[in-house]
């Protein structure tokens, strides 16, 4: 138990050091970066990206008339294909997976 508590303290300490050293960036998406992120979806060919006002997420249109979203996770991004019908939605989008049931693009 003591070993566990010491280890847990070590985890908190190292995480705190990472925070204190400033490893908490939140980069903004450029057109180029948004398209590159969307390229990571197998079979998706991005042609245009619409960046949200805060620069932290984007909606990307594909060559096949499909669409994807780019969402922030810390200092990195994830890309997800939009379910059919969701492309036109303006409020919260349900991407059908845990942690992504009520996705909003922009602030």
């Amino acid at each position: 138990m003591l070993t566990f508590l010491l280890s847990a303290a070590g985890v908190l300490l190292l995480t705190g050091v990472a925070w204190a050293l400033g490893f908490r960036e939140a980069p903004r998406l450029s057109q180029c970066r948004a398209l590159a992120e969307a390229c990571q979806i197998p079979g998706f060919r991005p042609i245009a990206a619409e960046i949200a006002a805060d620069g932290r997420s984007a909606r990307v249109t594909g060559a096949a008339g499909d669409a994807a979203v780019i969402l922030p996770v810390g200092d990195r991004f994830i890309a997800r294909r939009l379910p059919e019908g969701a492309a036109a939605a303006h409020d919260a989008i349900d991407l059908g997976e845990p942690f992504l049931h009520r996705v909003r693009l922009g602030p």
């Binding site: 990472a18 197998p42 845990p98």
Partner: protein
């Protein structure tokens, strides 16, 4: 014979090197850390030690049971430790390759790949569900040969300790002779990358010779910077979700399976397998990338 636990002995060194690497990333502007990501990796490391302790007794029981049927009497001699270390690393290669090619084992291993960062904390991002996935099966041949369980546990610990230092972007290339024989930061960066040309390459633990021998080696290329993570990166830093998300996905797919073939594909097929569609498997992704490269040439 009682042997020390190499991992436990190495923990203070791990902590020191993580701190050193964080400072190096800041000063050299090479490599990256993110505090949520580092916290999640460290929490996963801590959780894996708890999970390991919980299943230590059944694993020891299975090892002792299999050891009864050993073919040889292997003594606690220096050459036996050396042979155990090399053969255990071969067993690790077979396990690791299977863990990337069979979704059942991938569900347990994916957690190690679930960070989009590559630093020393990534090394500690270890599975919580290894026992459940039956990954201990891959080490049983060593007990059957006759290597005592304590010796195998010891060399397996050394193997894990070796793999810690290779999770870094602070080291470019090691000397040529070293890169030829040993697993290195450069080789293992390729293993953690999702670039199609790097997918499912460099499964080695300690000796990269296994990959060179069995045709799974790919060198790191200067013109192809590694993108770390998994094909479908996680939307959260929640360690519990990182540890179990692929099991949840397997459960969902199995419940939706409409045939025995689909059931087998969803559990024992490659990660990303779907009935009649291989576009999301690493082979499919690699094939699409190669076709596109030919198109553009």
């Amino acid at each position: 014979m009682t042997l020390p636990d190499p991992v436990q002995l190495a923990v203070p060194v791990f902590v020191g090197l993580v701190l050193l690497e964080m400072v190096a990333v800041r000063l050299r502007r090479r490599g990256a850390y993110e505090w949520h990501d580092a916290g999640a990796s460290l929490a996963l490391g801590l959780g894996s030690t708890v999970a390991g302790a919980l299943v230590a007794a059944p694993v020891a029981g299975i090892a002792s049971f299999v050891f009864q049927f050993r073919l040889f009497e292997v003594p606690f001699a220096w050459w036996a430790f050396l042979a155990a270390f090399v053969l255990d690393d071969l067993a690790y290669y077979v396990f690791h390759r299977t863990a990337h090619r069979v979704r059942w084992f991938w569900a347990s291993h994916v957690v190690h790949h679930s960070s989009q960062h590559y630093n020393l904390t990534t090394a500690l991002r270890q599975t919580w569900t290894g026992f459940f996935s039956l990954s201990f099966l891959f080490r049983l041949p060593l007990f059957l040969i006759g290597f005592p369980p304590a010796m195998v546990v010891f060399v397996a610990g050394l193997n894990l300790v070796y793999q810690f230092w290779i999770h870094t972007e602070q080291i470019g290339r090691m000397p040529r002779w070293f890169e030829a024989v040993m697993n290195t930061p450069s080789h293992h960066r390729v293993h953690h990358a999702t670039n199609p040309c790097y997918l499912d390459r460099n499964y080695a633990g300690v000796f990269i010779v296994w990959d060179r021998l069995f045709g799974t080696f790919a060198p790191e290329r200067a013109d192809e910077p590694c993108r770390y993570g998994i094909v479908r990166n996680l939307p959260t830093f929640n360690p519990l979700w990182a540890a179990i998300h692929e099991w949840v996905a397997i459960g969902r797919d199995v419940l939706a399976a409409r045939s025995l073939r689909a059931l087998a594909g969803f559990t024992l097929g490659p990660p990303g397998w779907r009935p009649g569609d291989r576009s999301m498997t690493s082979d499919g992704i690699r094939a699409a990338w190669a076709a596109r490269a030919r198109e553009q040439a």
